[in-house]
């Protein structure tokens, strides 16, 4: 059996790695238990908006971090590495008709479904008109039937921050009443011209003096930009999407784009396979064992990207005795000693909760290290939330870290491996 390039994990980091390996002609196999957190996220890519680097442009904040934290994954990629990943992501999404805007220069501030003002680096063009710098009155509109979006609450909070806003509910057109509703069902309806026409008309009537209208991020699966343009024409206002609670339609769009791109480039994605253990010799990983439908499968490994996420993604598990465990290859982790030390007492504590900083320590090539600082497997690289990187939530850098390290590690593996692997 020939050995293969294997990526474990189908989150943003695993997808970027698989794309890099596939485009290098290495025909990677991506194994994952599930789709990862992509289906849950709002779809923006946050690179950095840390309290530790306040009041400076994104580019400058990144430079500061790279100097101040030389072991941070960003420092190991440097600005060029980050920029390369961002570029590839932008060309990918643009080619798929779902372009992202923004970049490394500065963060854009967008209203959330709660009416908070949240910074992000890259955002789908369908969210661009939410940029608070645009000014003017905002109308937030939603549906009672979509249970996770409450325009009056969002508007009241925007208003309290001196942004003129109003929240209204729209009425579902006749024929669309169901016993149950999901974000996906709304997304499919928005792809129907009649539905758009009816909603657009209501928006036009309710708009008043508002110049921009925020809607929940359910404006179509395949051609959201087309939906937005159409609604703008009918309503006479700029339209933007606001991410809401999972499942996330922007996440589904991204997943479709990656699936397509990786498969076309010769990679293969196998969802529903949980990796339980690995087997190595002399510092090299030779096999991994995955389980699907209660059947164990053995894979011969040439090299491997571990992109299994952190506690949210299932790459790190814990138990009541306080054990913290890396689930796929049982790699050594950095984690707090005992359960007593896992949590801060306040949920919104600004430093985050120590347990969520657990991760795999690596060298500057992203290879896993043991407690004595030696590389565990020379042919394994770690990306995304599985990495030891503080708690990226507190730095508002989770998806950015996944995106950039995923791409970086994929290209690193592709260039550092002997050519004969490319079969």
């Amino acid at each position: 059996m020939t050995s293969r390039m294997i990526v474990i994990g189908a989150g943003l980091s695993g997808l970027m790695s698989a794309l890099a390996l596939a485009e290098a002609g290495l025909r990677p196999l991506l194994l994952a238990k599930g789709y990862g957190t992509t289906y849950w996220t709002g779809g923006t890519i946050d690179l950095l908006a840390s309290r530790r680097y306040p009041n400076m442009p994104l580019h400058t904040a990144l430079t500061h971090l790279i100097v101040a934290q030389p072991e941070h994954p960003y420092a190991r990629m440097e600005l060029d590495g980050i920029a390369a990943a961002v570029d590839r992501f932008r060309t990918l999404t643009k080619a798929a008709g779902y372009p992202y805007v923004g970049g490394l220069e500065r963060n854009v501030v967008l209203p959330t479904a709660l009416g908070a003002l949240r910074p992000t680096a890259l955002l789908p063009a369908t969210m661009a008109a939410g940029d608070v710098r645009l000014g003017g009155e905002i109308l937030i509109a939603g549906f009672h039937e979509l249970r996770d979006f409450f325009p009056p609450m969002a508007a009241a909070n925007l208003q309290a921050q001196h942004i003129p806003a109003r929240g209204v509910y729209l009425t579902l057109p006749d024929g669309y009443q169901r016993h149950d509703y999901s974000p996906r069902s709304f997304a499919l309806w928005f792809e129907q011209p009649n539905f758009r026409q009816a909603i657009g008309q209501q928006l036009r009537t309710l708009r008043g003096t508002a110049t921009r209208i925020g809607l929940p991020a359910v404006l179509g699966l395949r051609d959201p930009l087309g939906v937005v343009n159409d609604l703008q024409q009918i309503s006479g206002a700029q339209i933007f999407e606001i991410p809401t609670l999972p499942p996330s339609v922007p996440g589904m769009r991204l997943m479709n784009i990656f699936h397509q791109a990786i498969t076309v480039a010769g990679g293969r994605i196998q969802i529903g396979s949980e990796v339980r253990r690995g087997l190595g010799a002399e510092g090299v990983l030779t096999h991994i064992f995955s389980e699907a439908a209660a059947r164990e499968q053995r894979h011969h490994v040439a090299a491997c990207v571990l992109a299994t996420g952190g506690i949210a993604g299932g790459g790190i598990s814990t138990d009541f005795r306080g054990t913290v465990h890396e689930t796929a290859l049982n790699l050594p982790l950095h984690a707090p000693e005992s359960r007593q030390a896992w949590f801060a007492s306040r949920f919104l504590h600004t430093e985050g909760h120590p347990i969520f900083s657990a991760g795999v320590p690596t060298d500057d090539q992203f290879r896993p290290l043991d407690s004595t600082g030696h590389v565990v497997y020379a042919n394994v690289m770690v990306a995304g939330s599985a990495l030891l990187a503080g708690d990226p939530v507190e730095d508002r850098a989770v998806s950015g870290l996944a995106l950039t390290t995923g791409w970086h590690v994929g290209t690193l593996l592709a260039t550092s491996l002997p050519a004969q692997l490319a079969t």
């Binding site: 709660l114 009416g115 249970r147 009056p152 208003q159 169901r178 609670l245 952190g310 009541f320």
Partner: protein, 563 residues
């Protein structure tokens, strides 16, 4: 903040909105006696809202406290008749595990017979057939009439009925002082925590039903009631591994009982003396201990997902002459301060169990009624609490059946506990829920495996839409239609629902850290990412402390929100 004093006068003032106080309020009102009840938090804020959920058969007390056992057995039968809608007839087993004295079973049987607690020994095979998850190494099984009871719902039911009979029940009313005239307690000074208003409530009799806080209340009149607060911790697991209450067949001890209630199974408890009923936490050691004890009754117990942990405080009354806390009686005591201290107008009732609340209420009301010259007999043992007329006991499928009958899937606000939009709005509009915790207690919203990640956001928004509509007299959007439009102006602070949400998230966090590992920790991370990343709640300006309706800020009841 001082406000004008309001004067109220009544025959009887009850302090404490737990099972005992509420039971007394209903009983008094049914006898036609003018009654006001004050509770510093929401109803069931005290031990009643933090108990184990067991409708005692009496089995646990047959040896340790025979009188309690008999009372429990008796009240068990009565409660099934007067409040079937809050009780699930799970039945109970006492099982002898390899860790228990094999001879205890015989003593147990004898004691059950002596105390009138119905019991029957069944074969291990039969027990395992009915409860396959039980440890197969058990050697004997005794079946009793344990049940599961919802203390939140029943408290609201009792309160509703008491109000219908004319009682006034005031939650978020904190007793700050008792006023004495000579050798008589004549009134209480009460603060309305929602408005800051001070009320003086004069009463011919005051009943101190403040549970573990009874000593603090007595002290306000310069009297001593020695209550030893004993903390007990429980853990709810996200699965009913058993549908029968499972007790270890041994002297009652820590971690020896699992109660299936609603969608969960609850293991408990511990018993640790604490200095103050308002100050206690849950220790990781207690949790580890309970998990390991659970494993003895149900192999694999620790692999299920722990949903939440909470603790209640037992009000153990310290009788004179008793030195060892373990020998303190679990039965209740009625203290007539006229007899004991020569101070008239005040009665204290301490101890007991949820299962015996009605009996305790009857006894204390008998005393009060006699003093007031009222001869109307007690009817609480016969008169059904509204909603229970059909004499149908609660069953687990009840909520789902409701949702199915009304085809209300699209109206579900809390998917885990099947709570609909209508129920949430009802809790707000009809019962006056002041915050998300109140809504939770009334509807079970947020009690399921998702830790309220989704539904509390929804409930907060509904609450704030409702309040905006009320304050601005706009039509309240009810069943998903209508257009509750109101234009807030920029001088308003944050949306009040958002503040509720922030508080609730903190309170929930505190309740969860004790049991967060495995999937529950993963869930917590998901919820954290939702609130920080998707919603950015941490980025909103903090307006906490500005909203008077956020009564949880008040130090009298805010302990659970502070760490």
């Amino acid at each position: 903040m001082t406000r004008t004093q309001q004067l109220l006068q009544t025959d009887v003032l009850i302090i404490g909105g737990g099972a005992t106080g509420l039971g007394a309020a209903r009983d008094l009102a049914m006898r036609g006696i003018a009654t006001i009840l004050v509770e510093k938090g929401d109803l069931t804020h005290g031990t009643t809202g933090r108990y184990h959920g067991l409708l005692h058969s009496g089995g646990r007390y047959v040896i340790k406290d025979p009188q309690s056992a008999t009372e429990c057995a008796h009240e068990n039968r009565i409660l099934r008749k007067i409040m079937p809608q809050y009780i699930e007839a799970t039945g109970g087993f006492f099982v002898t595990t390899p860790w228990d004295d094999p001879d205890f079973g015989d003593k147990f049987m004898q004691a059950c017979h002596a105390t009138d607690v119905p019991v029957q020994e069944i074969s291990v095979d039969e027990a395992l057939r009915r409860e396959p998850a039980l440890n197969p190494k058990i050697s004997r099984v005794f079946e009793v009439e344990d049940g599961a009871a919802d203390s939140f719902m029943s408290a609201y039911g009792i309160a509703r009925s008491a109000r219908e009979h004319g009682a006034q029940i005031l939650n978020y009313h904190f007793v700050k002082g008792l006023i004495r005239e000579g050798e008589r307690v004549v009134a209480a000074e009460v603060e309305d925590l929602r408005t800051g208003e001070i009320k003086r409530i004069g009463a011919t009799w005051i009943l101190n039903a403040a549970g573990a806080w009874a000593g603090k209340i007595a002290a306000l009149a310069g009297l001593r009631v020695d209550v030893v607060p004993g903390k007990g911790t429980m853990i709810a697991m996200n699965h009913r591994m058993v549908n029968t209450v499972i007790n270890r067949c041994k002297m009652p001890d820590d971690g020896d009982i699992i109660v299936p209630i609603h969608t969960v199974a609850v293991i408990g408890t511990t018993d640790i003396a604490v200095p103050d009923p308002d100050v206690y936490g849950i220790e990781p050691d207690e949790v580890t201990f309970l998990m390991e004890e659970g494993e003895k009754l149900i192999p694999g117990f620790t692999r299920y997902r722990a949903l939440r942990a909470w603790a209640g405080v037992r009000p153990l009354y310290k009788q004179e002459g008793v030195t060892d806390d373990r020998d303190l009686s679990r039965a209740y005591v009625l203290i007539d301060h006229a007899k004991r201290d020569g101070i008239d107008g005040l009665l204290s009732i301490v101890g007991g169990k949820w299962t015996t609340y009605r009996l305790m209420a009857e006894e204390i009301v008998n005393v009060v009624a006699a003093r007031l010259g009222n001869t109307t007999p007690c009817r609480t043992a016969e008169e059904v609490i509204p909603g229970g007329e059909a004499q149908q006991l609660y069953w687990l499928g009840h909520n789902l059946a409701h949702v199915e009958q009304h085809q209300a899937f699209g109206e579900l606000i809390c998917e885990c506990e099947l709570v609909t939009r209508e129920q949430v709005l009802d809790a707000i509009a009809q019962s006056g829920a002041a915050n998300l915790d109140d809504i939770r207690r009334e509807t079970r919203l947020g009690m399921g495996p998702c830790q309220g990640g989704f539904c509390t956001y929804r409930a907060a928004a509904l609450w704030s839409e409702w309040r905006t509509a009320r304050d601005h007299d706009v039509h309240v959007p009810y069943n998903g239609h209508g257009n509750g439009q109101h234009q807030p102006d920029a001088s308003e602070p944050n949306d009040p629902g958002t503040e509720l949400l922030r508080h609730f998230l903190q309170a929930r966090w505190k309740g969860l850290t004790a049991i967060m590992w495995g999937d529950q920790l993963r869930q917590a991370r998901l919820d954290q990412l939702i609130y920080l990343d998707t919603l950015g709640i941490d980025l909103l300006p903090d307006a906490a402390g500005e909203d008077p309706e956020l009564v949880t800020h008040h130090p009298a009841i805010a302990t659970e929100y502070h760490v």
